[in-house]
Amino acid sequence: MSAIGHSTVRVDASDKVTGRALYPGDINLPNQAYMKILFSDRPHAIIREIDTTQAEKLPGVLAVFTARDVPNNEYGLGIPDQPVLCGPGSNKLYADRVRFIGDQVALIIAETEEIAHKACKLVNVVYEDLPIITDVLEAKKGDAFLLHPDRGSNVFGSYRIRKGDVEKAFAKCDVIVEGTYTTPAQEHAYLQPEAGLSYIDEEGRVTVVVAGQWAHKDQEQIAHALNLPNEQIRVIYPAIGGAFGGREDMSVQIVLALAAWRLSQRGINRPVKIIWSREESIIGHHKRHPYIIRTRWGATQQGKVIAAEVEIIADGGAYAYTSPKVLGNATLMCTGPYVIENVKVDACTVYTNNLPNGAFRGFGGPQAAFAAETQMNKLADALGLDPVEIRWRNLLDEGDLLSVQSPLPKGVSIRQVVEDCALAAGWKKTANGWRRENAQNAATRAKYLKRGVGFACAFKNVGFSFGAPEQCTATIELHGDATIEKAILYHAGADVGQGAHTAFRQMAAHALGLPVEKIELRMSDTATSQNSGSASASRLTFMAGNSIKGAAEEALKKWHNEERPAIATFQYRPPATTPYNAETGESTPNFAYGYVAEATEVEVDIETGVVRIDKVWCSNDVGKAINPIEVEGQIEGAVIQAAGYTVLENFIQKNGQVLTPSLSTYLIPTVLDIPREVETRILEYPDPIGPWGARGMAEMPFMPLAPAVIAAVHEATGVWFNRFPLTPETVLFGLEEQQTA
């Protein structure tokens, strides 16, 4: 029996159900010290002075470190624009500033967490406040106060697409629909707050045990800030308590390394431990970007979209994080999975004194899909067309050109997912095109309850885009004599909870023709594995799978050549991509995609404004489900997270302060808040270059839900909501506006 295509039990399941799995906060070493971070309490200020004398005098305090102690005081995934510690006296000119309330100012290392906490309050910081800019439109203005004076503008990333001639095309349109859409911030709310441990290992490496998404990138960023060679840094991931993009950037990694390193230089060789509280986690890591999307689409009477003009303004927050890359995705996806001959997109991302925004499941796709799909649904409405039918007339097929004037890679299946989802949700293909049966007859339980159905679809890249270097490396060792007794797979790919390591083992077993029990895993340690790239962009099954497949093939060759043990390392490189042309956006953006369609049925209580999502149909082309129950788990989890994003989760910042810094003020869905039923429909149209046909799939089901719900609420109430979350207040205001209009 093949090892893939079956729902095997997770490799870590036994440890996780018995409480034996160790997350970063669960690991203790003898003689460890505890660290607390002093965060900025100002959204924007220059630090004139930091006096640590009183803190250092407190009995039990081992050390207090500030900006002066950081060898190279900058970091950042794309642009190194963030100080490790903010304050005077470091090697970077503007590192004396804090730009959001989660900026880190001082590290206090003490015998106990309690002492460190007390000492934190004894550090005296003299701030000189600067203007607080929290509105992207203000921040974008030419004369706005600069958050990063060395960068000359608060706009730190922009793209444009020019295809055809939109003005001429609009003149030919029978219908034009315009909208300004705003999307909210979202907190990842993984249940394991940031934590970690650092020490100098037996080979003298500064070692950090932490939960992240890309061990080798963490290693590189730590090395950059400490001015040490990469090899002198070691990063180990134990069990990781969720990520969703929220662990893509640094939180405690660099400061943990810095603390252990500086202590050791003072002759104090002690491990350093930190655990963030939930509040620290919420202010300390980035959020999903709020976007403003202004857009105008035009179509012919026949329902063919021929022109789309889009302006995107993203709130990047205080530092770059992955904002430019998130924006790149949104720029591509803001015109949907459709053939549109004339496209004009102008997109930018802007610094503000809000929390930084960055990676979160979907990576710019959900914001873009909200605008694109709502535009499509409004066009259907304006033309009296069925929402599936209008899509059917515009969907991209193989060979069609994207807005960036290149075709999608082979294996395009957007039409198949739309068809599958539509049929499942009650649509029929008729002689007159797609129609939903009983469209107007949905029964309601009471007069004040209105029901509606909505539809949306989306496409999402798998892997790094737009010319970003992309690779993944695996090593396999085959042990035994006449027969292979065991195979050891070394891989850095992070299992953030999605079940990657289980899929790795299945793919290795399949590639080697061994039962899964013979595969031993050595995972996520930069000292034993090579660079895998991150657990993000729905890339890990695809990229790791190809690397494992290659390593297995080479190891088997060596095995047949009588090498014992047979050891092979294989680096997989997918087809190259190219960046946006600065003027026209022309590019080959991605090497692989996943496709998804969703329909949803909602009930709106027009007296209380409560929107209840009753049912979601999700058709997701995953290429090949390596482990079907894990795939289903990703779909259900993504749909529920998207449901929270759409109707419940409400992250509020005011004047640079977070008003929802806990799980009692920032609400995520409990089991009673979720859709009553999610029908997951796994489709398997192989990706020609995916391992055994597999595509990435974990972000896709997130993307179409918000626009599908918005369309369903429109059908129920007659009101188009251009913003969400659809909290009861938002819904009631919308209904009132409609009544007064």
Partner: protein, 159 residues
């Protein structure tokens, strides 16, 4: 610092005598003093349910209690439920039904439902959902947890 208080607490059947700060949380006591790190903390104010343990046989949020309140009482944590070789039916069902992803919420879920199943040997979906409302999970979408609880209940009733 406040004066320490001597307490005697029976955890997973074993008596521990410790001297603790009066304001030490029961969750911190379990994790840091006793090293039983299967009990997790995710919010420290009683919302997420990851720290759920049994206090004299009843599920409680150990982050909402002080260690001193446990003096003379009996506490059970996830470590008492079962071992890899001898799993509780719920643990077995969570594994089989893929009722966990990152697994951080799992010990709290298990402690909630190990108690629930005793009271509701034949639970309905509604009852399971009602009982789960105090435990957050950000990964799974909850459906497989409902399925796992049902499966465990069936197996336990069949015994």
């Amino acid at each position: 610092m406040s004066k320490k208080v001597d307490i005697k607490v029976t955890v997973n059947g074993k008596l521990y005598e410790r001297s603790v700060e009066p304001r030490m949380l029961l969750s911190d006591f379990i994790r840091h003093e006793l090293g039983l790190t299967g009990t997790h903390t995710g919010c420290e104010h009683g919302v997420c349910g990851t720290c759920t343990v049994w206090f004299d046989g009843e599920p409680v949020r150990s982050c909402l209690m002080f260690a001193v309140q446990a003096d003379g009482h009996e506490v059970h944590t996830v470590e008492s439920l079962g071992t890899p070789d001898n799993l509780h039916p719920l643990q077995q069902a969570f594994m089989e039904k893929h009722a966990l992803q990152c697994g951080f919420c799992t010990p709290g879920m298990l402690m909630t439902f190990a108690h629930f199943i005793q009271r509701h040997p034949n639970p309905t979906d509604e009852e399971i959902r009602e009982a789960m409302a105090g435990n957050l999970c950000r990964c799974t979408g909850y459906e497989n947890i409902v399925e796992a609880v049902k499966l465990a209940a069936q197996r336990m009733a069949g015994k």
